[in-house]
Symmetry: none
DNA sequence: AATGAATGAGTATTCATTCAT
DNA sequence: TATGAATGAATACTCATTCAT
């Protein structure tokens, strides 16, 4: 008996992300994904029981990825200002380096049925644990988690997503946003 | 000659918003919209030449609506702090009062093909003109427009969208966000 | 009370022919015909009770036209050879001069439901009466009408229809066909 | 893996011919063809990538068939008169024996978009090669190919197609036509 | 495990025709 | 007479999923 071909499963996962990037979540049919993965449509149903579950599973996996990426860039000896800068720039460079995955996750998180399957707050727990430590040390202001999330994460994602159509220099914007966040959050 | 039934046109527009809210932009087929409007699918093609254009047109119309709503709540004699509070609370109460329309616009603006048809910056021109006046008077800090948009609009929209699944009291969150924005933006 | 607008009816008739030429009999919808005639679809149903009847009526009318055209080119004092030449060249030049109408008639006559509505033999009665006279005078061979029709009319129509895609010089072909017909039919 | 059901493919092909015969090329919808073949409409798209290609492929296949039929009835030792008789009677009996296919091919060849996909001259190459040999032997007159095609093939097809509505005895007609062709083409 | 074939239900859109003015 | 609005039924085609090998 052959074992599940992990290589094949990986190819399917990448195909999902790729097809959604190029065709949008609407145009991402099982047939297209199968073709992009050089696999039969029926094969996909060996790994996932239906399309919904397939997207949910891959969405869930990739949702965590950006926060792992972020955590790898954190160092314990960072100052408050450095922490904030690392978070903002980290999110931004993640979107640049993993454009396909980022776009995939964004699209999924706007899709009502899918976004319910992933608790965003679970994904970024580690990052918030870190922030809480800085708050307890009196370095960061003690704003609540949702407010913090809203202010620290959504604006930079917005800039990242619109960086192509903006007439301003994105690096200048990013510098400005870092300064704003430091002004806002440092004690 | 039979005249266009304006009531019918309005019903179609509401059906579009409603179906997209309940089924997501994926599941919003012309047939479902027609049924929700108690109209034949063919009738929809009297008012719009195809589905893409239909969504684009309704999306464009409703995109402006929230900013008109916002402008109606502004008064010339407001202080800087009042202005910021009015904007943040205005966006929030718009989302509550026009929940379906807000959700519809959010979904459309995440859909690549649709978001290109509406220039967000056109819609909020009036609001930004007002902000610019306060900047020139030295009341608000002179941050660039995209940064301002990112920080002033996206976080409150995020809170509004997630207000149901949050375990915190949304009103407390909102108070906090207003304070944050005032700290950040007032000179 | 207004009378039926003959001008309008004529415009409809021309639109039918034109649309069928450009779109084929498949693509010729009532809506397109109405638009080409600058008329409402509903107006067409004032003049014809349905699409089938509309096509049948116009088809019938134009079916006769080519034989009237032919008869106008006949002169009583023509020799047998001249008669044959006049018929062959007459059919050909009709297809060139009335390309739209010819193509319309050809398309309709291949459509089973339509071709039953017009008796070809009725249309060309005059031409055959003429031929019969020449037969009685011992100038033309006494072949039967269907054979004559088959041999005298279908080959030249075939050449006319394919004159664009043929690599031969159509005028040479036509000369040849005239000679063939004269050899074949003259006593 | 399920293998392609050749029987199914054949059924589809026959259904195409049959539906076009009964409903005309206008009325031959994919749904009707699928139903006639006792197959889902989707199945048809496994075998053909779209309707246009489906018709073109089947049309092309059957276009050749009548000339193969014709060639099988030719013998090398035939006299010129026998050759002409064999061609005329061969075409006729093909239309009788394969009435549906003949009618299908005729309808397709009148449809502008389809007729462009098949070069008639390719299909009857073998027959013309044979004719050319008789021409070189001085047995048949040296008329050009298009004239020959027009005179030898179109009249008999016309008679075949109208044999039901004619008030004359078709066999007498056919005898007459054979004689005409022999008079015309033999040296 | 893997697959191409097969399909019922669905997709956006157009059709010939009728309605209400 | 004339019309644009309205529509049920049809159009070609695609979908997620299952079947048979």
């Amino acid at each position: 008996m052959r074992t599940r071909d992990l290589n094949k499963q990986q190819r399917i996962k990448e195909a999902i992300v790729h097809v959604i990037l190029t065709e949008g979540i609407n145009g991402a049919s099982v047939a297209k994904i199968a073709q992009a993965a050089s696999v039969s449509p029926a094969t996909i149903y060996i790994y996932y029981s239906n399309k919904e579950e397939m997207l949910a599973e891959v969405f869930s996996e990739y949702s965590r990825q950006s926060y792992h990426y972020l955590m790898r860039r954190m160092q314990p000896e960072m100052s408050g200002a450095e922490l904030i800068e690392a978070i903002v720039r980290g999110i931004f460079s993640y979107t640049v380096e993993h454009e396909e995955v980022f776009s995939f996750v964004e699209q999924c998180s706007r899709c009502p049925s899918l976004s319910q399957t992933v608790r965003e707050s679970d994904c970024c727990r580690d990052v918030f644990n870190l922030i809480h430590r800085y708050q307890e040390l009196g370095i960061l202001r003690r704003y609540s988690d949702p407010s913090l999330y809203a202010v620290l994460f959504t604006p930079v994602k917005f800039l990242a997503q619109n960086r192509r159509t903006m007439q301003y220099d994105i690096n200048v914007q990013l510098d400005e946003l870092v300064t704003m966040m430091q002004n806002l959050l440092l004690v």
